[in-house]
């Protein structure tokens, strides 16, 4: 299997057997369980006089998780949205796997990339199961509901209890779990998360982090996580990219950032984060 080349992957066999026999007209679901690398090279995006991205570059190896951190307006969300073409850069290159995203049909690209927006973005008029089955259905998969049920199990929202609830009948944390399940359901190789836990209290957040890790254990997937919380980034991500004013200030593990900050800004950021969080302990 091609995915095994990427080294850092969790085993795929556990979940793939379920879906081997599932679909007739479309490729079997397990084919999509291949984590793909991500790359952005010198991406520039201007809105009139405002420079949103100013030559931003990142690399994420397949199966790895990269956290984009930085203050509001640093361009982290904008960079994330380049990967599913919710924004189109003025120049530079954005790659998913080996393919420039511009060469793919925009809907096909998006259906193969999971997405968890800041506020969950669940469709309020649909029940939980239908929300989670959205992408499998868009892909025309016959086992859409089974895929959705499986994804709900992974995030700790058993379908037997929650499938028929409406989003407004769930707590904020539960909604974010469902949003995560929706991103996972079609087994994409890439998931984009835009401050998915930003609006939650600390305890709920910590529970969600577990759900996130379960998901990553269950499916081999490359993740790009936007967060303003360095502790969250340190817990969930393999690598951290610090963004400032539309470009990447430094890119590395938390230890790299701590031991050899490349700029004043990075070292100040780490200092402040250390002072405010006991959980953040560079090894």
């Amino acid at each position: 299997m091609r995915a095994s080349r990427t080294g850092n992957l969790r085993p795929v066999a556990r979940c793939s057997t379920l879906y081997l026999v599932s679909v007739r007209s479309t490729p079997p679901s397990y084919v999509r369980e291949i984590a793909r690398s991500l790359g952005a090279r010198n991406v520039v995006l201007r809105y009139g006089a405002v420079v949103a991205l100013d030559g931003a570059s990142i690399e994420v190896a397949a199966g790895q998780t990269l956290a984009l951190v930085g203050e509001s307006g640093s361009g982290k969300t904008t960079l994330l949205r380049c990967f599913n073409r919710m924004v189109e850069p003025d120049s530079g290159q954005v790659l998913v796997g080996d393919t420039d995203v511009k060469l793919e049909s925009v809907t096909a690209l998006r259906r193969h990339i999971g997405y968890v927006p800041q506020n969950g973005g669940l469709l309020p008029h649909w029940r939980v199961l239908r929300n989670v089955a959205l992408v499998p259905r868009l892909l025309g998969l016959e086992d859409a509901n089974e895929l959705a049920t499986r994804a709900l199990d992974v995030v700790g929202m058993p379908a037997s209890t929650f499938a028929d609830r409406f989003p407004h009948e769930l707590s904020g944390g539960q909604r974010q779990r469902v949003a995560l399940a929706r991103a996972l359901a079609a087994r994409p190789g890439v998931i984009l998360l835009d401050e998915p836990f930003g609006a939650l209290d600390a305890i709920t957040r910590s529970d969600l982090h577990e759900a996130f890790e379960n998901a990553r254990d269950a499916f081999p997937v490359t993740m790009l996580l936007v967060t303003h919380d360095l502790a969250e980034a340190a817990r969930l991500a393999d690598q951290i990219a610090v963004m400032r004013a539309g470009h990447v200030e430094q890119h590395g593990s938390l230890n790299d950032l701590y031991s050899s900050p490349s700029t004043e800004y990075v070292s100040a950021l780490i200092e402040r984060a250390l002072a405010s969080s006991s959980r953040l302990k560079p090894r």
């Binding site: 919710m86 809907t107 259906r111 506020n119 973005g121 469709l123 309020p124 008029h125 992408v135």
Partner: protein, 526 residues
């Protein structure tokens, strides 16, 4: 699909009598009138006379105004209605005659008859024998206080007098503009008044001057002074039956029958008849039958007792109860008009609103255009319909449909445009096509707003459908139009109250539908 077919079928069923009437050879003769008392009475006399001679008659009383009635006649949509030569000259032919002949009734009649035949293939039968010219009237106390007896006197004192004129009179060249030109009239203020209320307004001193007709029964009732047209401004207004080309070609016998009334109605007799209808509140059929019998044109055994006359002091609910059968069928007709017009508007305006969400550039101009249609006065709208669709149910449906489009299209477009952006964006980011975003996310989220638009349109349509009576489409507008023309409040209410109740019921039913289509999360917060 099935819904659409049912609508089509009902549309055809509703329209059938009209279309058949206009086309078939042995069809009934369509007798119409304009919406004021004397016109109703004359049309009823035409009808009974024709029926007495074995013709079958379809009554279409109270057609909009001159444009509607004459327009319908030109289209052979009606066969005969009473008109006045002065109106024919100025409002229909838009002619001005040299002063030498403009005051000569014979010359005016000849000119109008000739030109109508030449231009519109419409025939004027010989005049009925009386004139009904404009009568400018003031209260007796006003006449005494300012010593006003002629229009010249009025002009002298006009600076401190307020007039209440019918909209028709204010606009017509032979009305206020002409008076201002010829007499130098400069009134303190001019208020447009409905014919039904002008005499009451004058009697209660709300206005000082009104326009009336010289044969109006109400002039006598309120002890009013009619002013002498000392400069002979008003042309002769001889009443006559105007008949359609179809009737002339296919039913010479009917023409001969109608001509029996020519030169038989004196001004005195007409004023007395009008008074029985307008002041005494007698039933029009009965008055018409009595008049024809007095003239020896119809045997006295005519069906005068067939319809109940108004009994004066019996209560309003009793009045409604007595008319339950006809009110019931008018209400049914009303409901059908509303359902079909509204259904067709929903089928067009909701898809239109959705398309506009995808073609945003075209949205505002399109919706504004529909809004502009909304501002066309209903009578004008109905008049526009006649050249295209004749009179009856079809033009009424088209007009109601046009009025219903705007609120539905506006709310649909606004609703889908402003649907929760986080939901729409999430669907977009997960690979829903624009079409899928529109139909699966925006549309269901906008459902309550769209339904609010449908409810608005429904209430508007129930109200506007009362105006359908002006072009002979029936419905609860019939007693309203007739009651306004006859200054009969009870008759007006017998149409207006059921229409208002109907509006409430329709709105209530649609509120239930609105609740059913409202997405769960919004219902939760209600």
């Amino acid at each position: 699909m099935r819904f659409a077919r049912i609508i089509m079928a009902s549309c055809v069923a509703l329209a059938a009598p009209t279309v058949a009437a206009a086309q078939a050879q042995g069809a009934p003769i369509v007798v119409a009138s304009k919406p004021f008392g004397e016109s109703y009475l004359l049309a009823e006399m035409f009808s009974q006379l024709l029926e007495a001679h074995g013709f079958s008659v379809l009554r279409r009383p109270g057609l909009g105004a001159t444009e509607v009635a004459f327009g319908a006649l030109r289209q052979d949509a009606i066969d005969v209605y009473p008109e006045y030569t002065g109106t024919g000259l100025l409002a229909i032919l838009h002619d001005t005659l040299p002063d030498s002949i403009a005051r000569d009734p014979r010359a005016v009649y000849d000119r109008v008859a000739q030109e109508s035949a030449r231009r519109y293939s419409v025939r004027w039968l010989p005049p009925l024998g009386f004139q009904n010219t404009y009568a400018i009237a003031v209260r007796r106390e006003t006449a005494d206080k300012y010593d006003i007896h002629t229009l010249s006197d009025l002009s002298r004192e006009s600076g401190h007098l307020t007039a209440g004129f019918t909209a028709d009179f204010i606009g017509r060249p032979d009305g206020l503009p002409g008076l201002e030109r010829v007499y130098g009239l400069h009134l303190k203020a001019v208020r447009p008044l409905a014919p039904a209320v002008k005499y009451q307004a004058l009697a209660s001193s709300a206005v000082d001057v009104v326009d009336g007709y010289s044969t109006d029964g109400l002039l006598a009732k309120y002890d009013l002074v009619t002013l002498v047209d000392d400069r002979h401004f008003f042309p002769p207004y001889e009443a006559a039956a105007v008949v359609s080309n179809r009737l002339v070609r296919t039913m010479p016998g009917a023409i001969a029958t109608l001509t029996l009334l020519s030169d038989r109605l004196s001004e005195t007799r007409m004023r007395a008849l009008n008074r029985r209808v307008e002041v005494n509140g007698e039933n029009i059929q009965a008055v018409a039958a009595a008049a024809l019998s007095d003239l020896g044109l119809v045997g006295s055994s005519a069906k005068t007792a067939a319809s109940p006359g108004s009994t004066g002091d019996s209560g309003f609910w009793r009045y409604l109860w007595d008319r339950r059968v006809s009110l019931g069928s008018m209400a049914m007709r009303h409901i059908l008009l509303v359902i079909i017009a509204l259904g067709a508007a929903v089928l067009v305006a909701i898809p239109l609103g959705l398309v506009l969400e995808r073609v945003r550039g075209a949205a505002e101009p399109t919706v504004r255009l529909l809004g502009a249609i909304q501002t066309i006065p209903s009578i004008a709208m109905l008049a526009f319909m006649i050249p295209l669709f004749g009179i009856g149910v079809v033009p009424a449906l088209v007009a109601l449909w046009l009025y219903a489009l705007y609120p539905i299209a506006r709310n649909t477009f606004t609703g889908v445009r402003d649907a929760d952006s986080a939901s729409v964006e999430a669907a977009e980011a997960l690979g829903a096509t624009p079409r899928q975003q529109l139909l699966s996310v925006r549309l269901p989220l906008a459902a309550p707003i769209i339904m609010a638009g449908v409810r608005t349109a429904a209430v508007i349509t129930v109200g506007a459908a009362t105006l359908a009576a002006f072009i002979g489409a029936g419905g609860l507008g019939e007693p309203i139009v007739a009651g306004l023309a006859l200054a009969d409040t009870r008759m007006v209410l017998s149409g207006a109250i059921p229409a208002a109740v109907l509006a409430l019921i329709v709105d209530g039913l649609l509120a239930v539908v609105e609740r059913a289509v409202t997405p769960a999360h919004l219902r939760h917060h209600q």
